[in-house]
């Protein structure tokens, strides 16, 4: 397979210098946001709401307890 070593070397040098990569960095930033936004917008399973409702109910039926932080 033929490869253009000259161009590869230049790209990698520019990347290391932080020069010439600003357009690529813009694209990376945009992709990162899109990727994360996709994760954030995934529907939340009901089990989390049920869990919090249970915790709240438990607290209403018993006096506040000592914190059980195990760290």
């Amino acid at each position: 397979m033929r490869r253009d070593h000259g161009a590869d070397a230049k790209t990698s040098r520019e990347v290391k210098d932080g020069r010439g990569g600003s357009k690529l960095q813009e694209t990376i930033g945009r992709s990162l946001k899109a990727h994360y936004s996709d994760l954030v917008h995934a529907p939340v399973p009901d089990k989390f709401l049920e869990l919090l409702a249970q915790l709240e109910l438990k607290e209403q039926h018993s006096p506040p307890q000592e914190s059980n932080d195990e760290r």
Binding site: G18, T27, K33, Y36, D38, L39, H41, F48, L52, S67
Partner: protein, 184 residues
């Protein structure tokens, strides 16, 4: 903060907690276990949350500690990065092409965890350098250098020729042009 207000604030943060957990672990399934654990810990430690401070940063600290002490080992076993996003590309489709996102995710998965974490916190979650540094328990300079290394590594990975023999950027602009001409 009353229990009710605290509960509502937690509910509002769940989508972000799931996204952050998925970013750390590379697994959507494992992320939900981490989030469930995080919510339980946050609830039992609610008296330690200082009202007026950033709840997201507080929760991310708990989530991160939970993940590294209990789930990191499992994450290595169950990592499903390649398959985890399959069929879930609808939301981002307007701004970024599927191709662009698919390539990006493959490259992101190749970053060392601490670099991926820094990049995610600063580039996507809206946390400040100060908050990210506090969450990770490191100096601000460390976050900055992890972020720089992450960006450099991603640029290297995405500058290399892909399977089709063309670079990421030219494939993206081809996809954009194709879409533009379709719209005409």
């Amino acid at each position: 903060m009353s229990a009710d207000t605290f509960k509502d604030a937690l509910i509002a943060e769940i989508p972000n907690l799931r996204a952050f957990a998925a970013s750390l672990s590379g697994s959507v399934t494992l992320a939900d276990d981490v989030v469930q654990d995080t919510l339980l810990r946050a609830w039992s430690n609610s008296d330690k949350f200082q009202e007026g401070t950033n709840l997201r940063a507080w929760l991310f600290t708990i989530l991160r500690n939970t993940y590294y002490s209990h789930y990191r080992k499992r994450a290595r076993e169950v990592q499903d990065t390649d398959g985890m996003y399959a069929g879930r590309l609808a939301v981002a489709g307007d701004q970024v092409s599927h191709l662009e996102l698919a390539d990006f995710r493959k490259a992101l998965a190749k970053l060392p965890p601490e670099q991926r974490e820094a990049l995610t916190m600063i580039g996507a979650t809206g946390l400040s350098y100060e908050e990210a540094a506090e969450i990770c328990g490191v100096a601000i300079g460390t976050i900055k250098s992890r972020l720089n290394r992450a960006r450099t590594k991603l640029a290297e990975l995405l500058s290399a020729e892909g399977l089709e023999g063309t670079r990421w950027e030219s494939r993206i602009s081809e996809a954009h042009n194709a879409r533009r001409s379709n719209e005409r």
